[in-house]
C-alpha cells in the first residue's frame, strides 16, 4: 500500500462527502422548492463522487475495507477534507459562497485529474467534471445575483465572503503527499491552480460587486486531519446509525 496515494484519494473523497452532507442538510429547508431540489441534486452528485472515490481508496488500502467503512467508521482526525467544506450552512448566501469558492477550485482540479496516471481517478474526474461545471455555473450565478442584488442581499453575502475567506487559502495546500503524487504522475501539474482560481473568483466578484477581504488571517489543517469543531457534529449525525447498530443495512 502506498500511503500517500491513499491519502491523496481520501482528500478528494472527503471534500465531496462532507460538502455533500452539509448540502443535504438543506433538504426540505430550501428558500424555494426549485432551489431545494437544486441543492439536493448537487448533494447527490457529491455523495456519488465520494462513493466512487472512497471505494477506490479502500481498494488501494488493501485492508479488506469497503468505501462505506471509510465513510462511516473513521474518526474525525482521519478525515482529510478542507476546513471550508465543513463550515456551517449559515444562510442561503453563505452556502452559495462556500459552494462557489469550492466549485471554482474543483473544476480546475478535475480538469487536470482527467490525465492522471491512476486510471480510476482519471475516469472519476472525467465524470465528476461535468457535474462540477454545472455546480460552478449555479453557485457563481447566485453569488452574482445576491452580490449585485438588493442592499440587504449584498451586505449579507459580503459578510459570508468575509467569514469564509480565511478558509480559501487551504484550497492550495500542498505537502509531501502532493509531491509524491506529482512524481508518480498521479497528480498532473497544478502549479497555476491559484492563478486560474483567482481568475474565476475575481471575475465573478467583480460582477457581483463584492470586495475580497484585505485581512490576511488564514486557517488550515483539514488536509492533515486537524478540523474545526464543526466536523465532530457532522460525523455524530452521519455515523450514528453504523456506530449504534454495527453492520446494519437498509
Amino acid at each position: 500500500m502506498n500511503q500517500a496515494h491513499v491519502d491523496f484519494v481520501l482528500r478528494i473523497a472527503d471534500d465531496s462527502l462532507i460538502l455533500g452532507h452539509r448540502l443535504s442538510e438543506w433538504c426540505g429547508h430550501g428558500p424555494v422548492l426549485e432551489e431545494d431540489i437544486a441543492m439536493t441534486n448537487i448533494a447527490l452528485d457529491l455523495i456519488g463522487q465520494a462513493t466512487s472515490l472512497l471505494s477506490h481508496a479502500a481498494t488501494l488500502q488493501g485492508e479488506g475495507k469497503t468505501g462505506d467503512d471509510l465513510a462511516f467508521l473513521r474518526f474525525d482526525r482521519e478525515y482529510r477534507n478542507l476546513l471550508l467544506v465543513e463550515q456551517p450552512n449559515g444562510d442561503f448566501g453563505m452556502t452559495m459562497m462556500r459552494q462557489f469558492l469550492f466549485d471554482a477550485y474543483r473544476t480546475i482540479l478535475f480538469e487536470r485529474l482527467q490525465s492522471s496516471s491512476d486510471e480510476m481517478i482519471a475516469a472519476i474526474a472525467e465524470k465528476s467534471l461535468k457535474e462540477t461545471k454545472y455546480h460552478l455555473k449555479h453557485s457563481s450565478e447566485w453569488v452574482i445575483r445576491l452580490g449585485d442584488g438588493t442592499e440587504e442581499s449584498h451586505a449579507r453575502i459580503q459578510e459570508s465572503l468575509n467569514t469564509l475567506w480565511r478558509y480559501a487559502n487551504e484550497l492550495f495546500y500542498t505537502d509531501a503527499v502532493d509531491d509524491e503524487m506529482r512524481n508518480t504522475g498521479i497528480l498532473p501539474d497544478l502549479s497555476d491552480l491559484r492563478q486560474q482560481w483567482e481568475n474565476t473568483v475575481n471575475h465573478v466578484f467583480q460582477e457581483a460587486t463584492l470586495t475580497i477581504p484585505t485581512n490576511n488571517w488564514k486557517q488550515e489543517g483539514g488536509r492533515k486531519g486537524m478540523h474545526s469543531e464543526h466536523l465532530g457534529y457532522i460525523l455524530a449525525e452521519m455515523q450514528y446509525m453504523q456506530r449504534a447498530y454495527p453492520n446494519m443495512e437498509w
Partner: protein, 95 residues
Amino acid sequence: MSSKEWPLWEVFIRSKQGLNHKHVGSLRAADAEMALENARDVYTRRSEGISIWVVESNNVFASDPSESQEFFEPADSKIYRHPTFYDVPDGISHM
C-alpha cells in the same frame, strides 16, 4: 400569494426519442437563466430530456374555457376532414 413571488414559467422538454418539445409543467424563477436551470433540476433528474425551453407564463395567450363550445365543437361533426375515406393501395406501407 405575495407580490414578491417570482414569475411563473412554463417548461417544455424534448426527450431523447421525441422530435418536439412537450409541455411538462411550470415553476417559479426570477429570470430566464434561473428558470432554465430550475427546469433542469426539477424536470430532467431522471434523464427525461436533451433540450429545454422555458417561456414566462405571462407570454402564453390561451383559449378561453368558456368559449370552448364555439371554439372546438364545430369540428366534431366534420368527420370528412379525417383522411379515413380513402382505400389505401396495396403497395403502400407504413400507413
